[in-house]
């Protein structure tokens, strides 16, 4: 749309970035945290810091499961403990066929674990990542999908407008002035992690392809009565067998069925076992392979006759659907691999840096000009940026802190604890936008300081309320709790380092501005050594006298806040 292809792409990159960037940062931030969703769960749900049993018998469990469930259920299913999830989950469908309340179990003690009063990582942070918790007409999925398309668009246009890809693998000049060093960091994080970022966005939309292309099967399955249902049945397996109403004489051993399936899977255990129409002569057992050992998000299911143990049906996905499931598995990393998990986390953080620095570059490049022209847009973008970058980080830590402050079972005005936590999160988060509007550029450092204090508070509160301080968790091998505490402390340190640097820079800025009316050229001369000085870590002023004085100038709090 501009004179040249590259200028068009630059325009698209800039404006798609500014318009979608806030949303993208939020999605990336929540997605990055979701890499450790189960570990966040352990931290926020202290009663789930348990050990799974050494051995487990489905037959023994099946005999007692009736005590936990209502009469006349149509099915029950059990998800057994995994590497990062030491509890089991019991599902059931009641006599009307609707799913009842999920029960969390400690299989080693054979007791239900009481409700932990929090949505934690899996119930709040993870769905935030893919639906923004906007349930109405599934609109959240569409917004996130649009953001994912924008991410791919930004990556492609970013490569096009950027001619020196190879060089930027090795270019970072933190000592340069802010727009330049920010652009370096933007390019570095963008180029280095480019394949991951592109694939994570693409696999993200492919994961929800049925939402984004709901009509895809309408023609190919045009001769069917309900094309979409027919497609789902074929593509995702829908083996069923109706109940007869006759009682089952003698149930076959579920452990034996699991052993058959496990042998077929080269020793990989099941992830999900369901007994459909228990006690009926036509009852059958669903045994689905675990995906712990590979990227592929398996849909490999055996259906056994509950009375004879014979295999009724073995479902595996067709090749292209398997490729789709591989991409899903790549995105949701449910496999066990700590090294890769940390790489995902770091790549996700690189995405956050990429988006954040893009914003800062846009702001810093325009700040002077916009202020001269008296344009309002910059302040809006600045507010949105600060609230969606440091704001959401601070709000997330507040979510952790409030979880450790409110006692289990706490209620306020009839609102339960799990909802209160979320309300606190949102109220605080909205507050960060208001704060950013009022404090402008200074809000960056304010919010970082707040995040640092809150992060340390979260670690202290965890130790006080659960007794699991970092030495204890290290001794016990509770690495998910230990890791969460460690990451909170690292967050605090990083926040302090960045905030201090910003504060030093902020002190230098008024000096630069006082120099501006004295005519442009001398101001530039003065500004340069100043900027370089403030970059160095506590380096003594080495300038030639003149710029050194303004550095000492704003030691008091008299400087204007609205710089």
């Amino acid at each position: 749309m501009k004179e040249t292809f590259r200028l068009s792409m630059l325009w698209l990159h800039t404006w798609a970035g500014v318009v979608i960037g806030s949303l993208l940062f939020i999605i990336f931030w929540m997605g990055t945290l979701s890499v450790f969703n189960h570990d966040i769960d352990r931290w926020m749900m202290p009663d789930t810091r348990i050990q799974p049993p050494e051995t487990f018998s489905y037959d023994a469990f099946a005999e007692e499961v009736g005590d936990l469930l209502p009469e006349g259920i149509q099915e029950w299913g059990l998800i057994t403990p995994r590497d990062r999830v030491p509890m089991a989950f019991l599902y059931h469908r009641d006599s009307t066929g609707t799913f009842g309340q999920r029960i969390t179990l400690d299989l080693a003690q054979n007791t239900p674990i009481p409700d932990q009063g929090t949505h934690a990582g899996t119930g709040f942070i993870f769905p935030f990542h893919f639906s923004l918790h906007i349930g109405w007409k599934g609109i959240g999925y569409w917004i996130v999908g649009a953001a994912a398309m924008a991410m791919m668009l930004l990556l492609v246009t970013g490569v096009i407008i950027h001619a020196r890809i190879l060089k930027d693998f090795f270019t970072f000049r933190p000592g340069k002035k802010l727009p330049r060093s920010t652009l370096d960091l933007h390019n570095l994080s963008g180029v280095l992690v480019l394949p991951f970022h592109f694939m994570i966005a693409l696999s993200g939309v492919i994961l929800f392809m049925n939402i984004y292309f709901p009509q895809a099967a309408d023609l190919a399955y045009g001769e069917e009565e309900v094309p979409r249902t027919a497609f789902f049945d074929e593509a995702y397996s829908s083996y069923t067998r109706p109940a007869t109403g006759e009682p089952l004489e003698e149930p076959f051993s579920i452990d034996a069925m699991v052993a058959t399936a496990t042998a077929a899977w080269d020793g990989i255990p099941p992830y999900y076992v369901r007994v459909i129409n228990p006690g009926d002569a036509n009852s059958y057992v669903y045994v689905r392979r675990s995906y712990q050992d590979h990227v592929l998000f398996d849909r490999d299911i055996f259906f056994f006759d509950a009375g004879t143990g014979e295999v009724l049906h073995h479902f595996v996905t067709e090749p292209i659907m398997t490729a789709q499931h591989f991409l899903v598995g790549f995105h949701i990393i449910q496999f066990d691999h700590w090294g890769l998990r940390w790489l995902y986390f770091l790549a996700g953080l690189a995405g956050c840096i990429l988006i954040g620095t893009g914003f800062i570059y846009w702001l810093e490049k325009r700040r002077k000009k916009h202020e001269e022209l008296g344009l309002k847009g910059l302040r809006i973008v600045e507010t949105l940026t600060i609230g969606s970058v440091t704001g959401i980080i601070a709000a997330t830590v507040v979510f952790f802190v409030i979880n450790r402050i409110l006692p289990l079972g706490f209620e306020l005005a009839g609102i339960e604890r799990a909802i209160l936590e979320i309300i606190v999160f949102y109220v605080f988060w909205i507050g960060t936008f208001a704060h950013a509007w009022a404090r402008r550029g200074r809000a960056w450092s304010d919010q970082l300081w707040v995040t640092a204090v809150l992060s340390v508070a979260a670690v202290v509160l965890n130790a006080l309320t659960t007794g699991d301080h970092m030495i204890q968790t290290a001794i016990d091998g509770q690495w998910n709790v230990f890791g969460m505490d460690a990451l909170l402390l690292i967050t605090a340190v990083l926040c302090v380092v960045i905030a201090r640097r910003l504060d030093r820079k902020a002190k230098a800025v008024p000096a630069e501005e006082t120099a501006v009316p004295a005519k442009a050229p001398p101001a530039r001369v003065a500004a340069r050594p100043l900027a370089d000085l403030t970059e160095g870590d506590g380096a003594p002023p080495t300038g030639d006298g003149a710029p050194a004085a303004p550095i000492e100038f704003p030691t008091t709090a008299q400087q204007p806040n609205d710089t």
Binding site: M9, I206, M209
Partner: protein, 111 residues
């Protein structure tokens, strides 16, 4: 600097930058999606017709749909002439959606 060719006929609509950008974004995002959606359905039916397993044809078309959409988005912002965008997105979308209706009608008549 000469004004972009082709926008002449749309001068009233396309000359104001805000109007121009709005048209382009809507064409790209909405027009691009409608075109992609129709192409995905047609591609799935075509692949199934030439012997691919039906469910596989649908899944492959859906996955390719995201790449098609991405390319359409890029082109919508690269093309200088707004008129051509209108013709291609409007025309191709109308054609593809018409084809979807035709196939549907043929199927329901045959079935």
């Amino acid at each position: 600097m000469t004004p972009p060719r082709g926008s002449r006929g749309f001068r009233a609509l396309g000359s104001h930058p805000g109007v121009h950008v709005t048209q382009r974004v809507l064409l790209a995002v909405v027009g691009g999606y409608l075109l992609t959606e129709a192409v995905v359905s047609l591609l799935a039916a075509m692949l199934a017709a030439v012997g691919m397993v039906r469910s596989e044809a649908v899944v492959l078309s859906m996955m390719l749909g995201f790449v098609i959409y991405l390319l359409l988005l890029l082109w919508a912002f690269a093309e200088r002439r707004l008129l051509r965008l209108w013709i291609v997105f409007g025309g191709a979308t109308a054609l593809a959606m018409g084809a979807v209706r035709l196939v549907q009608a043929a199927l329901s008549a045959g079935g």
